[in-house]
């Protein structure tokens, strides 16, 4: 733009014209950049639209062939080309449930420790260490679960549990059968470790938004640390904590590689948590490249669509809750 300033030597009209040209150039560049960024923002929406459209189109043959029975049937037979989604959906829900039952109390415990109990110097290192758990790729959890964790459970934990509950009516069905090591419980525990950092870091963030005055007032009337957490911190941050839990649940439902390694990949529904099963994502990962025939492929894509719809709804609720919280803060 230096040519705008040094124009004394040139005749006035030439200078004006050049000035107008430069300005127009800048204007065009500005408009162009604006359009470019707008297009990129729209591309985000386009990706979502593309994902939904391609899954719906891909799953049409399966839904046309099986109708809503696809959701209600638990047969999965590539030879006779009879497919039903019930077993993978069941496995997905059960493993995610196991993961949340373990991860939620422990994640909240860690968050409480980090915000209320931990000495200041240790807060950052411990927080980072927990978040590193989220950074480890899921395939690492898978290989570790397969070679280290599952054999350990098989040798040292499962036989004990099976014989312990053998005579208790309901527990004996839940923990029945030969100790394979791999199975739904193992997958659930591994998922719990993976989800833990998400629950922890979001709860920690929302716990930190509690105004110190509230806590001090509670301590002032003689509350114990636990009572402050139970009756001040958690009620104040309830929406955010639930949002964080839902976010973790979304992760647990869609996690693929770690589960694929340790679930056993059996298309059946068993009451025992030690039995091998399958999840939606594990079925797709295992069978997709080997699927022959359009109907088989389409059935797997239909599974993907079901998974996407479930996680989309859960993540949308989670984001909505967290967003509402942010707005409250801003207001």
């Amino acid at each position: 733009m230096s040519d705008l300033a040094i124009d004394s030597g040139v005749s006035e009209s030439v200078a004006l014209r050049r000035r107008a040209k430069v300005l127009r150039g800048l204007q065009l560049r500005d408009a162009g950049f604006r359009l470019l960024t707008l297009a990129a923002a729209l591309a985000v929406l386009l990706v979502l639209g593309g994902v939904i459209a391609s899954l719906v189109i891909g799953s049409l043959p399966a839904f046309r062939a099986f109708g809503f029975g696809f959701l209600a049937s638990d047969t999965w037979n590539p030879v006779t080309e009879k497919f039903g989604a019930l077993a993978p959906v069941y496995g997905t829900l059960i493993t995610a449930a196991i993961a949340m039952v373990i991860a939620v109390p422990i994640g909240l415990g860690i968050a409480i420790f980090l915000t209320e109990l931990c000495p200041y110097v240790m807060r950052r290192p411990i927080g980072i260490a927990i978040e590193l758990l989220a950074g480890i790729p899921s395939i690492i959890y898978g290989i570790w679960g397969l070679f280290v964790f599952a054999p350990f459970l098989q040798k040292h934990v499962q036989p004990g549990i099976i014989s312990l509950f053998a005579d208790v009516p309901i527990l004996s069905t839940l923990f029945a059968g030969p100790p394979y090591g791999i199975g739904m419980l193992t997958a659930g525990i591994i998922l719990a470790i993976m989800v833990l950092p998400f629950v922890t870091s979001i709860s920690r963030d929302v716990f930190e938004t509690v105004p110190p005055v509230l806590k001090e007032a509670a301590y002032g009337v003689g509350c114990t640390t636990w009572e402050v957490v139970r009756f001040v911190v958690i009620p104040y941050t309830r929406v955010g904590v639930i949002g964080g839990i839902m976010l973790g649940l979304g992760r647990a439902l869609g996690e693929t590689m770690a589960v694929t390694f340790v679930i056993g990949n059996a298309h059946r529904i068993s009451a025992s948590l030690f039995a091998p099963g399958t999840t939606i994502s594990a079925s797709i990962a295992n069978e997709f490249t080997e699927a022959v025939g359009d109907l088989y492929t389409s059935a797997l894509i239909a599974l993907g669509l079901i998974l996407f719809v479930i996680t989309f709804i859960i993540l949308a609720i989670a984001r909505y809750m967290l967003m509402r919280l942010q707005m409250q803060e801003g207001a």
Binding site: A43, V47, G109, P137, F261, L307, F308, T311
Partner: protein
């Protein structure tokens, strides 16, 4: 007095449980990393970096997988990061309070945690079936779809941290908006933007699910983007589930390499991010 004692005891129990859960969480990290180092280091040798993945029963390395992973990650970031940065720029600079930004932010946050295997299915439908075969470029695009939301999110956050008086000062000099963004806002947020890209690299370098049916895998060395391409995660998946001992060993070594790379990246990103907030 006894009521007070009971309350104190209750508190002590719950607080103890909080300590225990922290130990539990850290314990897993230590356990996983320890067994990874233990198993992975055994197989670490120069051959890992100089030889191809072997057929079962003979010696070999991971060269083709490492090179494939580097190419796929680089391309994924090269496609996804600029798109994400531009979208984040729109949200933070041009359309800060528009409806579109609100919607894009919501959708982007969902894409951020959407199951990655669904991304693989999407790219399979859009690219692999059209092209008729698996290819490296499809794998790279699948990774780009995962990179984009990460970068959108960090770019928007970081640009919003840049104080508005900086922009106003530049605008007051008559600087056009595009140049204000390029020369002032980007520069002020540079460390944060780099952090975002590093986090995205860390995120995709371990991604397996979207590669399984896009880039597939390749037993041989190949830099042809139009053909199936090997990648570390895909090789680990195949080798770890095989019954051969030497394949399993290579899988552990590959797992060690990936984890080391990912952890190093996320620690560097954290240090950069910390510098930014400390300023």
């Amino acid at each position: 007095m006894s009521r007070y004692d009971r309350r104190r005891r209750g508190s002590a129990i719950y607080i103890g449980l909080c300590y225990a859960s922290t130990l539990f969480g850290l314990g897993w990290l230590v356990l996983i990393l320890a067994s990874l180092f233990w198993e992975g280091f055994r197989g670490l040798s120069p051959a890992v970096f100089t030889q191809m993945t072997p057929p079962p029963g003979s010696a070999g390395g991971l060269l083709n997988a490492i090179v494939g992973s580097l190419i796929l990650t680089f391309l994924g970031v090269a496609i996804g990061a600029p798109l994400g940065m531009l979208a984040g720029t729109y949200m933070a600079e041009y359309g800060r309070h528009t409806k579109l930004t609100f919607v894009v932010r919501f959708i982007n946050d969902i894409l951020l945690s959407a199951p990655s295997i669904v991304v693989g299915l999407f790219i399979y439908e859009v690219m692999v079936t059209r092209m008729g075969h698996f290819s490296g470029v499809a794998g790279a695009v699948a990774l780009a779809v995962i990179v984009m939301p990460v970068v959108v999110r960090t770019t928007e956050d970081m640009l919003l941290l840049v104080p508005d008086p900086l922009r106003e000062a530049a605008s007051a000099l008559g600087t056009p908006r595009a140049i204000v963004i390029g020369k002032v806002a980007y520069r002020a947020a540079r460390a944060g933007l780099i952090t975002g890209v590093l986090l995205a690299i860390a995120r995709i370098s371990g991604e397996t699910a979207p590669l399984l049916f896009t880039a597939l895998n390749n037993q041989f060395f190949s830099t042809n983007l139009n053909a199936p391409m090997a990648s570390l995660p895909a090789v680990i998946f195949q080798f770890a589930l095989s019954p051969y001992k030497d394949w399993q060993q290579l899988a552990w070594t590959g797992a060690l390499l990936i984890t080391f790379a990912v952890l190093a990246l996320s620690i560097i990103a954290r240090i950069l991010g910390a510098q930014r907030t400390a300023k």
